[in-house]
Structure formats: C-alpha cells, structure tokens
C-alpha cells in the first residue's frame, strides 16, 4: 500500500512556559488510513492535536497538510483546508437544537454573503432549504435523525458524542481528528461507534484518533503511534504495538500483555 501522504509533522515541539509537552515529534498521516495516537495521560496527545489544528502555537518544527504549512494559521483557516477536529471534553452548542448544531457545522458548505442575506434574496432561502436537507442527511448518517428537533443539552452523553462527530462531519473534513471520542461510553455504545468510524472511513475521510480505549484502538487502527513524556516511543501496526516491550512498560502494562496472550 503506497497511499499519498496527507499530513506531515516534523520536529514538532510544544512548550507551555518551561514545560515541554511535546518534544521533536515527527510522523506522517497517510491518505485514507486510521492512525491512532496513544500514551499515558499527559504524554502530549491532545497538545499535538491542538498544534495541528491551530489552537496552540508550536515552539518549533513544521506541520504540512497537502503541501500547505499549517504553522501560524488560525483554527478556522485550518478547517477551511479540510482538517477538522473534535474535542476531548464534550463540546456542542448546548442551547441549540441538534439540527441547528449541524447547521452551524455546515458553515463552510454554504455560500450566502451578508448583502444577499440582508436583501433577502431568494438564493438565500433556497440554500437554507438545501442546508437543512444536508443536515438531516448527516444526522441520519450518525443515527441522530430522530433527535433533530431536541435541544442538545437534553441529549444523553453517548448521543452528545455522536452529535460532536456530526458537527465535525458537517464541516466536510478530509482529515478528521477525533480526541477521545468514546471516553465515557459504555461497551455497546463503543461498539456502535466503531461501526460508525468504519462508515466515516468509507466516505474517504482520513481519521487521526486519540483514544484510551484499547479495544477500539486495536480494532480500528491501521497504524498506532505511542507517546510518552512528549516523545514518540513506538509506532507500527496494532500487533507490533502490542508486542513492543517499551509500550507495554510505559502504557499498556504487563497485565494487558498477558491478557492478550
């Protein structure tokens, strides 16, 4: 398999004051794959996500997405390029309905200009109907269509996490970064999320995942990168990662290795 490189991170360093969160990290994300980033808490996984999506400034190194450097770009500009993320802490537009959440997510797919809106041109109304259709299609895709009219704050936790993914999908990502999407889900919800992830992949979207649920990580990933203290300590296929003694020591634990036989 020689898929094209979608994202190249080279020598990335992130510092918060004197603390180094990520130290000269280099890796590539290939088109169409599911790549997972694992490691103990505080290893720098979310910091790496934040740097790639423009939420924190990198202290050094380069991040290149399909030939465009992401360093110095604002999060919304990075989203425009097709790099869209979700957040570790559940993050939706709480007071809005499920449908409106997705409609906000569709921002980049709509073309209305302020003047046209103020003049009330028919093209705006036409596009609004079209957007509502698209939003419903996305809700069907993640299985939330029955909830379209409900206020987001009234959804149970598992559905909130699905809504986050729906909002991100609405932004038409080519590279989707998911930050612990199944944390707090029960095994049944996790299992159905894994199916959803396969469907997302079926759309041709590359997925970059941070996750602690090893069953999910091992089940969905093509490749895994393991971080510890801000450095990459191993990378490879799920099978290779499970056998890697350093990963076992730093993160998975002896018990996990024994359980896997």
């Amino acid at each position: 398999m020689t898929a094209a490189t979608e994202l190249t991170v080279e020598g990335l360093s992130i510092r918060f004051g004197g603390l180094t969160a990520v130290e000269s990290m280099s890796f590539e994300v290939k088109e169409g794959e599911v790549l997972s980033l694992i490691g103990p808490n505080g290893a720098g996984k979310t910091s790496a996500f934040n740097a790639i999506t423009g939420y924190v400034a990198a202290a050094g190194g380069s991040i290149v997405y399909r030939g465009t450097s992401l360093i110095g770009l604002k999060p919304n500009e990075i989203a425009t390029l097709g790099v869209v993320r979700t957040f570790q802490k559940t993050s939706v537009f709480t007071g809005q309905t499920v449908l409106d959440n997705v409609l906000i997510g569709l921002h980049l797919r709509s073309r209305q200009r302020p003047i046209a809106i103020l003049l009330g041109l028919p093209s705006v109304a036409r596009e609004e109907r079209q957007l509502a259709e698209e939003a419903r299609a996305i809700l069907r895709f993640v299985g939330l269509d029955a909830r379209a009219g409900e206020v987001a704050s009234s959804l149970p936790y598992g559905e909130l996490r699905l809504l986050e993914v729906a909002v991100a999908l609405a932004a038409k990502p080519r590279l989707l970064l998911l930050d612990e999407p199944v944390s707090g889900m029960n095994p049944a919800e996790t299992a159905s999320f894994m199916k959803l992830l396969a469907q997302i992949r079926g759309l041709g979207i590359t997925v970059f995942l941070v996750e602690h649920d090893m069953k999910m990580v091992m089940g969905v990933s093509d490749r895994i990168i393991c971080l510890n203290y801000g450095r990459i300590i191993a990378s490879g296929s799920p099978a290779e990662i499970q056998r890697n003694p350093e990963v076992v020591r730093a993160y998975l634990g002896e018990r996990y290795a024994r359980a896997q036989g």
Partner: protein, 344 residues
C-alpha cells in the same frame, strides 16, 4: 402566526387615526426610537453574546452626524484646515448618519477583535465616553453644551410637486414604525441565516465554532457594524424629531435602558427587545398617568425590573414560549414528523 403579525401591524398603523392625544403619540414615538436601538443592541448582546455598554455612542453619533449634515457646519479638523459644509437635505443627513455610525461600529469590531466579555464591555464603554467628551468639548463643531438647535425636520419630495413633511407627530410616528419594522426584518433575515448561526456559534462555544471553520471575528465585526448602523438610524430619527441635540444623548443611563429592555424582554429572541421596550418604555408614563408620587414611580419601576430578572432570568419572551410549549406539548408530541426513518 402570519395573521397575528398582520393584525398587530394593522393595529399599530391605525393608532394615529383614532388616537387624538398628541402626548400619547409622543410617548409612542420615543418608545419606538428606543425599541429600534434596543433591537440593534440585541443583535450584539443577544446573538453574539458580547455586551456593548457603549451602545448609546452609535445612537448619539447618528443624531449628531445627521443634525450637522442638515444644518451645515464650519470647523477646523486640524489646526489651519477649515472644513466647511453647506446644509444638506435631511434624508441625505440620515443616510450619512447610518453610514458613519456603521463605520464606527466596524472600527470598534476591528479593534476589539480579540477581546471578549468584560474587555469588550470596557472597549465599548470607553468609546462612548470619548465620543461624549468630543461632543461636549469640540464647541466649534457641536456647540458643546449649548446644543445644536433648530434642527430641520425630515422632508421628502419637492414643495412644487408632492411633499411629505415630518413636522407633526403622526408623520413621525409612521416614520418610526416603518424604520422599526424594517430593522426587525433585517435582523430576522440576519439571524436566521448562515451569518446569524455564526454569531450564535460565537456566543455558545467559540472554540467549537472555529473548529468547523467559522471566522468568528468576521461575524462579530458584521454584527457590530449592522448594530451600530441601526442605532445610528434611531439617533438620526430622534434628532430630527426632537430637533435639538446636546451631549446628554450620550448619557450612560440610555445604554442601561436599552440593556434593560433587551434583558427583560429576552435577549437572543427577535421579539424580546420589542416586548421589553414596550414595557419599560411605556411604564414610566403609565405610572405618571396613574398619579403616583415620582419617587414611588421609580421604586415600582426598579422592583418590577428586579422581579422580571429574578423570576424570568431568560426574559419574558422565552418564558412565555416555554409556558406555551408545555401547554401544547401533548398535542404536538402525539404527531411526530412522518419522515423519520429507522436509525441506520
């Protein structure tokens, strides 16, 4: 719903036909002007979630610009640079007022692109205070505390053919009503579109909004600009209605009044500022008409405000909406939309 709206509009348009008490019309005109200003504030406070505590600055700028344009002026912009302007027609002055107030809004939006919450409040308060001091001290241009007097009333058309003059109260009432309805329509178009969703996204969750590609700064600037232009229009109408403008139009209490109207009516709802504006615009006059002692009037005003904020923190309009939803729920819940397919 359509019918109710039309009935309301018909009622509002009919008032000057049967209301012969000019004082009542005057109160309605002033309330209407304040409602326009409150609606414009609601676009910022209610939809983008940013509190502008200097909103009266845009109102005052509108009043001064329109007055000066229609009176003409001679002033030194820089030492040695004398700018002279002949009086212009009032409608042109009003257009200038809207444009310049909008430009000021654009500037405020730009310079406060990074500040949110309390810092946005400080920027807007400072801006209003600076403008007030300019109006007070640039006597050559604004006459300072002596005020701009004899501001002409709006006239449309030409005396030879057909002229609409806005000297009398019924005409001004219609002017305010038309501008208010227009402002309402513009705000509704805006908030029920991509731009409005971007503003709401900024209010509800800025990091998430940017993650899906919303350029929040751009939409904050747009909201500030439209809001300022609308407040400027209200100010211009005010100036040519009362026909005297002094630096007191920049008083902080007017901003506070607008905030009260928006918050009690329901910020972030279209009808909120209208309802809040009607209640708190008409209440002082109703209390006065009831011949209650002035000090008691203000106590009632204050107590009512506290009660509304305490018991209906979301405002009157959302409270009524929730109440109605609860009472109509069984009827609507029984008939779910037919198009729902089984999940996946």
């Amino acid at each position: 719903m359509r019918l109710v709206t039309l009935a309301w509009l018909a009622f509002l348009f009919s008032i000057p036909l049967w209301m012969s008490d000019l004082y009542v019309l005057h109160v309605l005109i002033m309330t209407g002007i304040f409602i326009i200003a409150a609606m414009s504030l609601n676009l910022l406070l209610g939809y983008t979630g940013q509190l502008s505590l200097g909103h009266v600055a845009f109102f005052g700028i509108g009043a001064y610009v329109s007055s000066l344009a229609s009176l003409g002026f001679e002033a030194h912009l820089l030492p040695g640079v004398l700018v002279k302007m002949e009086p212009k027609p009032v409608w042109l002055g009003m257009l200038c007022a809207v444009t310049i107030a909008g430009l000021c809004g654009w500037v405020i939006g730009r310079i406060s692109f990074k500040v949110r919450g309390a810092y946005f409040v400080i920027v807007t308060v400072s801006f209003a205070e600076v403008i007030r001091l300019v109006a007070l001290n640039w006597v050559e241009l604004t006459q300072g505390p002596m005020a701009l007097n004899n501001i002409p009333a709006l006239r449309l058309g030409t005396p030879e053919l057909f002229e609409l003059s806005f000297l009398r109260k019924p005409a001004n009432y219609y002017l305010v009503l038309v501008v208010a309805v227009l402002s309402y329509i513009l705000i509704r178009r805006l908030v029920q579109s991509r731009a409005g969703r971007a503003m709401i996204a900024l209010r509800e969750n800025e990091p998430l909004a940017t993650s899906v590609g919303v350029d929040v700064t751009k939409y904050l600037v747009l909201a500030t600009m439209v809001s300022a232009a609308m407040a400027g229009a209200a100010g211009a109408i005010y100036a040519h209605y009362v026909r005297i403008v002094d630096p007191d139009v920049f008083l902080f209490i007017y901003t506070v009044t607008m905030v009260i109207m928006v918050v009690t009516g329901g910020k972030g709802t279209l009808a909120g500022p209208v309802v809040g504006g009607l209640i708190f615009g008409l209440l002082p006059e109703i209390l006065r008409a009831a011949e209650i002692k002035p000090e008691v009037q203000w106590v009632i005003y204050g107590v009512l405000m506290v009660l509304v904020v305490y018991f209906l923190p979301e405002g009157i309009v959302p409270a009524v909406r929730n109440w109605r939803r609860r009472h109509h729920e069984p009827a609507t819940a029984a008939a779910p939309p037919a198009s729902i397919e089984p999940a996946r």
